[in-house]
Symmetry: D2
């Protein structure tokens, strides 16, 4: 286990799906940041299941409790610990999967790695529930970035094979906020909802793709050779359960482009250096170039489905059939939007501190 | 700059394209490993430009010199430093790009980040030349992994829009070795060669996709929540110049699959737990599950092209036109095969030491 | 702030003296360890003020709450979070020191570093109260070490100028347990108690020296050049409030010895390699040699005293006089014994995991 | 092995006593620093054996070669690698110690830890020769600190039981430079020389104590809870071969002081906050307070002596007698002065970057 991320803004996560709580400690948070618990709660609300027809029925109030690092409403520079209690827990559903790992889940690998001592209830620390900790830390990071004019937006661009068209950059956020699946192409959004409902009806699930964009990141963020901005962002995104691919700018499409098409020509825009296109996704040589940082993240379909599946009994090494019961999300993508934004904010904050762009005390 | 990778098997890189050498220090290498300089040289040879018609004409003998950490042919447990001299260097070609950043390159971001003090000749540390260090360290890591029966293979699956069909796992290596571009689909390989030659003729360049596979990795490798195997592999791959996307198993295609299609059902094969399909690419919950680890990596086309491009003069902030001269690779993908294998080997070695699967002394 | 210690067994601390709680997260704890909350409570009890006449009157029940990482009484391999609530808090005493830093305390440096946003009540995170987190983590580490036959003992060898004679190794623990100040020389112990009482009567305080010993550590623990066992132990001890010196084996006395006196000659004892003397304190070249690891730690007198002291008002930069009121410890040394043992256990556990001597799953 | 130190200014060391070279890589060095090889050479010269009568007869020209990270005389921000060749090597002297570990040395622990694969010639990486790498890195760090007005001085305060009186702070450097053993008390210096010569005559060795002082360090440097300034300095000093104790300010003497004596009262001096005394050695709560940082470091006598010693044959586990021949230093202290200064400079530079006090680009 290695549950910490970051070098100068270091996030440590703890808690399990069916334990008493999910928590996070942030080490290296600048002092002087005004903390607004309402803002954190609002982010958590976006992560919560919303429309009953397209998500799980597990409901949690997710009230944040700050245990340290904040005094009289401002961060102190000391480690900031935040907790959310787990409440709507129904552990009896999970006993049957203890020795019969669910296909697609971490049940089997966790069993092997931790010698069967892992908390298998609800997937333990491998549950999507752990992303509550990411969102809490991300809310702090986004507050810091906002102080420097940096904004992070995310929208759904694919669900269950339905692809969305990307509107102009300025409209994305507003349009996506009107979609129950966070898709800025409202026509595609309607189809996505249909696909999710159909999957739910069939006891199945669907995957999708999220695009996340950071605006106004100054040039010079990123620490190559190895701590590139792409590398550290990708590492952070792969910690979100269900992510199987990450690409920046033109991404996999760049593989079929010619250099003369791909290369972003330098121009002067509003008196500053910019690039005409943004196939690099705002990152060159692992360092931000001042253009929007654009990243797309592929989510596999949620593993928990009600359709019968083959598995193996870990005690007898005999094949068997698994029929899962419980409350499952037919599609994780809409709820993953705030998680993706959180992870991007955490990595950018850490890197901007490393680059000397965020001071140790912020005067708000 | 952060030029170290790994926690227990820690690789530190130094050197620039037009400096005296490229070097690497490995800290945490197990003692007792027999070091065969010929094997390292052979890996470097694969990374060297081969067919004159499809690659740069820069030629370097790339003789490895071991400066520390090896005594009487075996690793001692002390830091292992290896060097390769730079020889075929023609720096005068690069003076003109000092203040006129090449589109697609790190020239601009390096200039901003290092205040103009960066060594701009040949891209300095942002040059593909730095991958010599990765290949040297990877040769050591692959030797360690071989001791545990682990094998890494890589093949080209796309160049310039030409996609290859993947043969059965057992044939990949042999077939790819017969292709000048490392593609196991020999018909596609011939077309890829044509595409590269055409790009070279036009003073242009093309990108591609590499698939890398690790066989016989035991289950239990990977340290979630944050140091997942996918995350650390992706981070390592994004350190290779030109990488813009990384995906595991079904990858981006997983986004359009249903859970009932995607989930890899558990079965018993040869008396051991396996999965029927391998959409997870051998990794579940960030931990290896014993199946082949499969990863695809997208490379943008090389940035250096002879076709005229727009850029900006950094002194005057005036737009201008850049006409590059020099020796350029029209496609980096074939030469990237050993680099990709090296990075996978480095990450796997580091993670297996973390998991307690590789001892501190190897008795060969 | 950097509140994490360790590489493979990583301890992260949070909480403040007058905040809601003190907590710790352990990342990298082996799975399968049976957790006994009573044992942790017992360690905390030793850290609590005992004899009213020689310590503070602040009283806390210090009930440990485990928030994650333990399932059905065994560690799961996931991050282990433990909390203790702060209860007997009287914050009103501290308002007057906000802008008038206490001599000897971290009030001034914390004010400068965190721009005045630090939680100054009771010293915030600089309070001795934070050592509750160290003791909790240490209790887990000591449990792991006990599994491998390693035992850590500590005793007071100096308080307020009174020096103790060290009895034979086997008697230390039993004799020290009979002393209210943890001193195995019971005659010196009686004098130490007198010195502490006298200091308390005068509104003053006294310092002292603790010796901590680890028995049965196998040879080969320690990661030079930089992560030496001495270096990592010293770093851990200096994190305990009040420590100003650390020495191993003969320590400062070694400076006046001749090589022929100092060098520990190798001999065979009970069929195994040992050294005749132990001036090296069980560590050579930064690596354990199998002999007892012996370390002495100097504590300055507690800073909070009732005698009037000069200070400066941080708002006016005028000199002023400070008369502290509150509940102060005239001597921290007796309560520091379990803290010192905890830190040694944490470092040894981390290093033994690094050396591959502790597996990732312990079968108890 | 873990041969890297530092978080943002990261020093990695490689090389062995009898290998081809000693080298160091600095990762995270600010760009724009003017590099003067003469200055580095001068530091190395101070580390070299000087007076033939009081030190080893091994002589090396120690010419520094910069392999990367410097372009046109300025640091580029890329990893800076420096090398010194080993020349005056006489390996045949060491074959006899392969299986007969020298008392006081790391021969035995290295043999155990690295399974007998360690390079035993001259102690391999455990040799004092490795400190050449520390001095090279320290020369860079001292250059950076000088840019911010910070100065580091060191002097010998004890050798072979002879203790020196400390002159006033301003005189230390000048007086110490006139002593062959770096002692500012010239009367004590003469006695120290005598003691060393006598030890040499008898085939024996003597230890000593160095005091190192950093002037003009701004308040606010240090990252508690765990990365305290004392802790990171102590860890760095314990990496120097032969160090057995480290203390700050009043150090071990603080243990016998009363709080009313020890506490450094705050006063106003030249319009700024200062302390009247400096028993804290310039560090409170792990953070610098603006006063001189004062540290004392105890060195055991060098282990290699010509007098016969008992040891054990590692093959037969039989006791035997060792009679060493070769070129030995009867006292390492005088040569350790630049090493101690180097380590302090490295740690301070790293911490000041962490604290945001040193920018990523320095304009000289």
């Amino acid at each position: 286990m290695s549950s910490s991320l970051g070098k100068m803004f270091r996030v440590t996560i703890f808690g399990e799906s069916h334990g008493p709580c999910i928590g996070v400690v942030i080490d290296g948070c600048p002092a002087g940041l005004m903390i607004d618990e309402g803002g954190i709660r609002e982010e958590l609300r976006r992560r919560s299941p919303r429309e009953p027809e397209i998500s799980t029925s597990r409901r949690e109030p997710d009230e944040v409790k700050i245990l340290s690092g904040v005094f009289r409403g401002y961060t102190t520079g000391a480690p900031l610990c935040m907790l959310v209690r787990n409440e709507d827990v129904r552990s009896h559903n999970y006993h049957e999967v203890r020795y019969r790992p669910r296909p697609g889940h971490a049940d089997y690998t966790a069993y092997v790695k931790y010698g069967g001592y892992n908390d298998y209830r609800g997937g333990g620390i491998f549950s999507g529930r752990i992303t509550v900790a990411m969102v809490m830390a991300g809310a702090i990071a986004r507050k810091i970035l906002a102080h420097f004019g940096i904004k992070i937006i995310a929208h759904t661009i694919e669900i269950g094979g339905i692809k969305a068209r990307r509107p102009s950059m300025e409209l994305i956020e507003e349009l996506a906020s009107r979609s129950p699946v966070g898709c800025a192409d409202l026509k595609a959004s309607a189809e996505m909802v249909k696909v999710i409902k159909e999957a739910r009806r069939l006891g199945d699930s669907v995957g999708g793709v999220i695009e996340v964009i950071a605006l106004n990141v100054p040039p010079g963020v990123g620490e190559p050779v190895f701590d590139t901005l792409e590398g550290d962002l990708a590492k952070a995104f792969f910690a979100i359960p269900g992510v199987k691919g990450v690409e920046f700018g033109a991404g996999f499409k760049a593989a079929s482009m010619k250099g003369s098409e791909y290369n972003d020509q330098f121009i002067i825009r509003h008196g500053r250096i910019a690039t005409k296109s943004n196939n690099a996704g705002g990152i060159q040589g692992g360092i931000s170039n001042g253009m929007p940082i654009i990243c797309r993240i592929a989510f596999r379909p949620p593993s928990s489905i009600r359709r019968p599946q083959r598995t193996v009994d870990l005690r007898t090494l005999k094949e068997t059939v698994l029929r899962l019961q419980g409350r499952f999300d037919p599609c994780i993508v809409p709820r993953a939007l705030p998680i993706v934004k959180a992870m991007m904010a955490i990595v950018l904050t850490d890197h901007m501190i490393q680059a000397g762009m965020i001071p140790r005390v912020i005067k708000e």
